[in-house]
């Protein structure tokens, strides 16, 4: 095809985009924060690093981890331990009914770290880390929707997967699974 098409000329005359620099993750990084300063316990679980942190210092620990090179919050979810009260926890961590589990990812270290927070049954509230990682917006809403855990400071804590008028929080262990009974009967006749 000879000559430029009119479209190509128009594209060339549009506002030029700035190319973004390639991020390869080879940047200077500071040391990881000391867990003890936040009352947290570092533990190995299936070969992965886990930090147990009290609810009060959860937000400040995640903030310190973000500053130490954990650029991304890969995942945030909750677990209801109602049916498993005697689970294995490191000494000094008092079990709550719920647990909020945050998986942070460091691109520059190519490492992950998991933060587990115990959340009591009577006041299921925990600080929202939305101010640190905007990507947790949908994840915290999901945890709220399915477990009824309230994230303090979340801008729009509404149900996300269930309908607005749904009652209860389906992933709690005391929320029964609904079943539609299957009828293995011959279909009734036309008349």
């Amino acid at each position: 095809m000879e000559g430029e098409l009119p479209g190509a000329a128009a594209a060339a005359s549009g506002p030029a985009l700035e190319p973004f620099p390639l991020v390869t993750g080879e940047t200077e990084i500071g040391p990881e924060p000391d867990p003890a300063a936040f009352g947290a316990l570092l533990q190995q679980s299936s070969g992965q690093r886990v930090l147990h942190v009290p609810r009060e210092s959860y937000f400040s620990l995640v903030a310190a981890l973000k500053n130490a090179g954990y650029e991304m919050c890969a995942d945030l979810c909750a677990v209801d331990y109602l049916a498993s009260p005697n689970r294995r926890l490191p000494e000094g961590v008092s079990p709550g009914r719920f647990e909020v589990v945050v998986n942070l990812l460091s691109l520059c270290r190519a490492a992950r770290i998991r933060v587990r927070v115990q959340v009591g049954e009577s006041d299921p509230v925990v600080d929202s880390i939305f101010p640190l990682y905007s990507g947790t917006e949908a994840m915290e809403r999901e945890a709220f929707d399915l477990f009824g855990i309230h994230f303090r400071g979340h801008p729009d804590l509404t149900r996300i997967l269930m309908p607005e008028d749904w009652e209860g929080h389906p992933l709690r262990k005391d929320f029964g699974i609904g079943r539609v009974p299957v009828r293995f009967k011959e279909a009734p006749g036309r008349r």
């Binding site: 985009l17 991020v23 299936s46 691109l107 299921p124 801008p155 804590l157 997967l161 309908p163 607005e164």
Partner: protein, 460 residues
């Protein structure tokens, strides 16, 4: 804390402390509207987010009421796009605030396909679980099975034999090819290149035919299971893979010509839906969406799993972070997948295709007729399943859409205590407001398509 009342006056303004102990409900929030509300009824942070201004607001102390969204609210309108809109790839609903044709704010409303798969997973044994999770991301079912199986194996503390690992790697790369072909097809369709729909599905069908030969099913294979894979590769698989490897580069050249060399397509995607690497990281975006913005992050390279460490391939990253870069990244990734498939046909080791632990994988069919013990093991595996030691683990792999993760908790029984799946497009969809801000309504189709959302995995 100030709660928006969603423009409806329904929500109580009780703050964050009023709990009713009996039900455990949070009265201030449980009945909130999920729709986009008027600007004056939205809290500041949420307004920033919906306007795609979060990063800028944090960095520069930006006041959202000052933003150039300042067309008065009597001159803008909030419209719905979806959930039945054909370009939303399922049932995604976008609420857009428009000033004329320009998008000012976006809110995604999801949940129309929610089927409670995480709850279902708690009722199924680890053996049955792969059947359940494979239905989440229906365009890359093998990656769902893989992440579920890898999480289970992590808790069990077993390693599948090398051949199983290589079979998994090969099937996952084939799955990536078919998933990206489907994306090429639907993306072409969204942008008016209707013939691409037929080409993309032709290529996908070629791969699905091979996967059917291997697994018995075109989709939802339930082939990758804890401990290995369900069966060995069929005779003559090398020829089939070689045929795919020979066909695909030619077809990719055609795509390149059809899209990259076509001014109409480039007009629609160049400079549209730009997202900066900082924004993409902040919004936890992964996969081609993150790489399109120039962040060379690929779990296959950065945190290798399966046999990727022994394969030679390039991680492709974009430069401008627009829709064209995301298209180009996917096209180049397909070439890399073909490159890997060629290496795998040569390197495929021989040996067992599953761990030889009789408590975890069933014995070969022939043994059941001869050995009473094999019969018992077979019966036990498929009725009771196997018990997994108490513990928890998070495993992530690179699916065609980004990081798919599985957080698995076991209490020592034969069923997962909790099986949380981190869906890549569930998270990636949060980048829409940033990419859509200031775009034209017609670009909303191109931008949504460039995220490649699969609603089955968004809503789970």
């Amino acid at each position: 804390m100030v709660l928006s009342n969603g423009g409806r006056g329904q929500r109580s303004q009780g703050g964050s402390t009023g709990f009713s102990d009996a039900s455990g409900f949070v009265p201030g929030t449980s009945e909130g509207a999920q729709e986009m509300s008027l600007r004056r009824a939205t809290v500041k942070e949420e307004l920033e987010r919906e306007a795609g201004m979060r990063e800028r607001a944090l960095k520069e102390g930006f006041d959202p009421w000052d933003m150039s969204v300042d067309t008065g609210e009597d001159q803008t309108m909030i419209i719905n796009m979806g959930p039945q809109h054909p370009s939303t790839h399922g049932v995604l609903r976008l609420m857009l605030e428009l000033d004329g044709e320009t998008v000012l704010r976006t809110k995604t409303v999801i949940g129309y396909l929610h089927t409670g798969m995480e709850k279902t997973a708690e009722e199924l044994t680890f053996v049955q679980g792969a059947t359940n999770v494979t239905r989440m991301d229906y365009l890359s079912p093998l990656h769902n099975e893989l992440v579920f199986s890898m999480a289970t194996e992590k808790l069990l503390g077993i390693e599948p034999p090398p051949r199983a690992t290589w079979i998994r790697t090969m099937l996952c790369e084939l799955n990536r090819l078919s998933s990206h072909s489907t994306w090429m097809a639907t993306n072409g369709m969204d942008l008016g290149a209707t013939s691409m729909m037929i080409y993309g599905f032709r290529e996908r069908e070629m791969i699905l035919a091979f996967l059917e030969k291997v697994t018995g099913l075109r989709m939802n294979h339930n082939f990758i299971r804890p401990g290995g894979v369900a069966a060995d590769l069929p005779d003559g698989w090398e020829d089939d893979v070689a045929a795919i490897c020979d066909t695909f580069p030619r077809r990719l050249e055609e795509y390149d010509e059809l899209f990259t060399g076509q001014p109409i397509f480039r007009e629609r995607v160049e400079g549209v839906g730009v997202i900066s690497p900082e924004d993409a990281l902040d919004l936890s975006a992964t996969g081609p969406l993150l790489r399109g913005s120039g962040v060379a992050w690929d779990l296959r390279r950065s945190m290798p799993y399966l046999a990727y460490e022994e394969l030679d391939f390039d991680v492709v990253a974009g430069t401008y972070g627009d829709c064209f870069d995301r298209y180009a990244v996917r096209l180049a990734e397909m070439r890399e997948s073909v490159k890997m498939l060629r290496q795998m046909t040569d390197k495929m080791p021989s040996g067992d295709y599953r761990a030889l632990d009789k408590k975890i994988t069933p014995p070969p069919r022939g043994r059941i007729d001869e050995s009473m013990e094999a019969l018992i093991h077979h019966f036990k595996v498929f009725t009771e399943g196997f018990k997994v030691p108490e513990g928890e683990a998070y495993v992530a792999v690179e699916s065609p859409r980004g990081e798919i993760g599985c957080y698995m908790v076991s209490d020592g029984s034969n069923k997962p205590y909790r099986c949380h799946i981190r869906g890549p497009s569930f998270v990636n969809l949060q980048a829409l407001p940033t990419m859509l801000r200031g775009a034209l309504i017609a670009d909303a189709v191109a931008i949504t398509s460039s995220v490649d959302p699969v609603m089955g995995e968004v809503d789970r």
